[in-house]
């Protein structure tokens, strides 16, 4: 008797425990769904507004779309009001040069620090790391003056050339860590086969470091797609604007339609905001693994 009592009370308790656990799980997933909605809904509204006919963007209660009137033309209309494709091309050009230049220099510098022994190595590496501490504002004005003296204003040069002489401290640090994890035996084997120091970098180290280099390319993409300040101060003529600057100018300076001042409509602004958002979101989706690795390394070790 005693024994079965204990058993039933035990199973009741176990059931109650299970129920509590299940309830906890329900609350838990409800919280996840709630937060997801909270974080994603502004983005969904942005896309939804970009596809509505003008006049429906402020309707209440809001609808995800207006049936029978999904206006993809909003995009075409918006980018016909300023040199959209040209600006996109400019952004991609500047971004491409920065990727090539920044990564090449970072690879070279990181390789020297990871593999070669030379006097002054530690001092110089500390110097590289210390540049992370210097806020860009302090160098901003003299750089502007320098590029002005060189006659480089209103060209892509101030936005691209420094990358070939820089490579961010973060990139150098990340690559150096990665290079140091590659066994030196490979270097030695290549050297015995007659490979030069920089030949080893090109034939052995770089092919083995593609994941790290890919991570940096992603960061470079994110950084230069969103870059605003530098293009703003260096580019003055409309045909040289990057996409972000072109959209800002279009939105703020307004559209000159047949000589009449006509501010852009909300649907068109939301369309352009969506255009700005899509590439980084896609890049994040397709490269999530590398992206997250890069962030974790930067946070844990940076």
């Amino acid at each position: 008797m005693m024994r079965s009592d204990a058993l039933t009370s035990g199973s009741v308790r176990f059931n109650r425990y299970l129920l509590g656990r299940r309830l906890g799980r329900v609350v838990f997933y409800a919280a996840l769904v709630l937060f997801t909605l909270l974080f994603l809904s502004p983005m969904i509204w942005m896309i939804s507004a970009s596809l509505k006919p003008e006049g429906y963007v402020f309707e209440y209660p809001p609808r995800l779309w207006v049936p029978g009137a999904v206006e993809f033309e909003n995009y075409a209309v918006a980018w016909s009001q300023f040199p959209f494709w040209r600006a996109l091309g400019n952004t991609l050009t500047i971004m491409g040069w920065n990727m090539v230049g920044g990564i090449t220099t970072a690879v070279l510098t990181a390789y020297v620090f990871a593999r070669l022994h030379f006097p002054g190595r530690n001092t110089l590496f500390v110097l590289v790391l210390s540049t992370m501490m210097i806020p860009s504002q302090v160098t901003l004005i003299p750089q502007y003056i320098l590029f002005r003296e060189l006659g480089w204003l209103d060209s892509f040069l101030p936005l691209t050339v420094p990358a070939f002489f820089g490579g961010s401290a973060f990139a150098i640090f990340l690559l150096r860590q990665f290079f140091m994890s590659i066994p030196r035996d490979y270097d030695d084997a290549a050297r015995i086969d007659g490979c030069s120091t920089f030949g080893i970098l090109w034939r052995i180290i770089v092919p083995l470091s593609l994941p790290a280099i890919g991570t940096l390319a992603i960061f470079s993409f994110m950084g230069h797609w969103n870059d605003f300040f530098a293009p703003l101060i260096y580019l003055n003529s409309q045909e040289k604007y990057t996409l972000a600057i072109a959209i800002q100018q279009w939105q703020q300076v307004a559209v000159m339609g047949a000589g009449a001042y006509q501010p852009p409509l909300w649907v068109h602004i939301m369309a352009m905001a969506t255009v700005l958002t899509i590439p980084p979101v896609l890049v994040y989706f397709f490269t999530q693994r590398y992206f997250i690795q890069g962030i974790v390394i930067s946070g844990v070790k940076g």
Partner: protein, 313 residues
């Protein structure tokens, strides 16, 4: 005989080693040339020149005129907009950064409860931080539009007061704080990886000692993840003192300078008014403020942050 061979070998080795070393040094400096040249031309040179400029009056068109500390004196005596813009920036930082850390950390804790479909939720929380600042600004200009914006319409519908948001110098800063909090999921990736790194035996030991959920959080989770919290706090603070893009494309400092952030004011001084000397002084003051804040936070972290490696020392 053997002796002679050894001697020859050692001489050869020494010479060989010497030439190898010299060659390596030369190669190293060849490899470092682009970086070092860039450092001198684009970093060190400009730092020194900007320090010099901050003591001059320079309008770009005529050569800089040495005026001593006049720029710095003017900043804190005559120019009321310096303390004003610093105050705006400070108010924003002191609310947005801690709120962002708390929200991000809470989301990390939530995801650490072994959720099914982890990468989906993580992506959902992370997504807003991938949205360019400019797009975020346009989005919030629309959502927080005072007359017809979605948020105010909802607030009115449930009978709550609808603030003027962008239209009022006192509330405009909250638009930017809300944007920052919306992007707080950006920290989730870091928090989650550090939460997952907490050794489970610590939790088991705490359970054996009878620690409840709160105590386990307070005495195991929080100390073990404090370095990452500290890191995101520090980098968040530095970034938020330099906020520019989202302000420039939306309120552009208005209304009535209610959102005149420090960097926006610096931009105007340098590129609208062409007072490069004064702007250089502003940049240096910003640098000093960030340095002081960093040192303060580092000091504080010495007491609050737990580094697993410390015990061994």
């Amino acid at each position: 005989m053997t002796n002679a061979v050894e001697r020859v070998e050692s001489v050869y080795k020494r010479r060989h080693h010497f030439t190898m070393q010299t060659r390596q040094t030369i190669e190293a400096y060849i490899g470092l040339t682009p970086y070092l040249a860039g450092f001198l031309i684009f970093t060190l040179g400009p730092i020194l020149y900007s320090l010099y400029l901050s003591f001059t009056d320079y309008d770009v068109l005529s050569p800089p005129k040495w005026i001593g500390s006049a720029n710095y004196v003017k900043m804190f005596t005559v120019d009321g907009l310096i303390p004003h813009s610093l105050w705006i920036t400070f108010k924003y930082t002191i609310v947005a950064v801690p709120a962002g850390v708390v929200v991000g950390y809470a989301l990390g804790l939530l995801l650490n409860q072994k959720a099914v479909g982890l990468s989906f939720w993580r992506t959902a929380f992370y997504m807003p931080s991938v949205v360019p600042a400019m797009a975020t600004a346009y989005l919030f200009m629309w959502l927080l539009q005072s007359d017809y914006g979605l948020i105010n319409t909802v607030l009115r519908a449930v009978g709550l007061p609808a603030p003027k948001w962008w239209g009022d110098p006192d509330t405009v800063i909250w638009c930017f704080i809300l944007m920052a909090i919306w992007g707080a999921g950006g920290g989730v990736v870091l928090y989650l990886s550090s939460l997952q790194g907490v050794p489970t035996d610590l939790y088991d030991a705490a359970k054996v000692d009878g620690a409840n959920v709160w105590q386990r959080f307070r005495h195991v989770t929080l100390p073990m993840t404090s370095p990452v919290i500290f890191f995101t706090f520090l980098t968040g603070m530095i970034a938020s003192f330099q906020v520019f893009t989202q302000v420039f494309v939306s309120s552009n400092g208005g209304p009535a300078n209610g959102s005149l952030f420090y960097m926006l004011y610096l931009y105007r001084i340098a590129w609208t008014e062409l007072k490069m000397g004064y702007a250089a002084a502003m940049a240096w003051i910003l640098f000093v403020i960030l340095l002081v804040l960093t040192v303060l936070v580092l000091r504080l972290s010495g007491r609050l942050v737990y580094y697993a490696g410390e015990e061994r020392n």
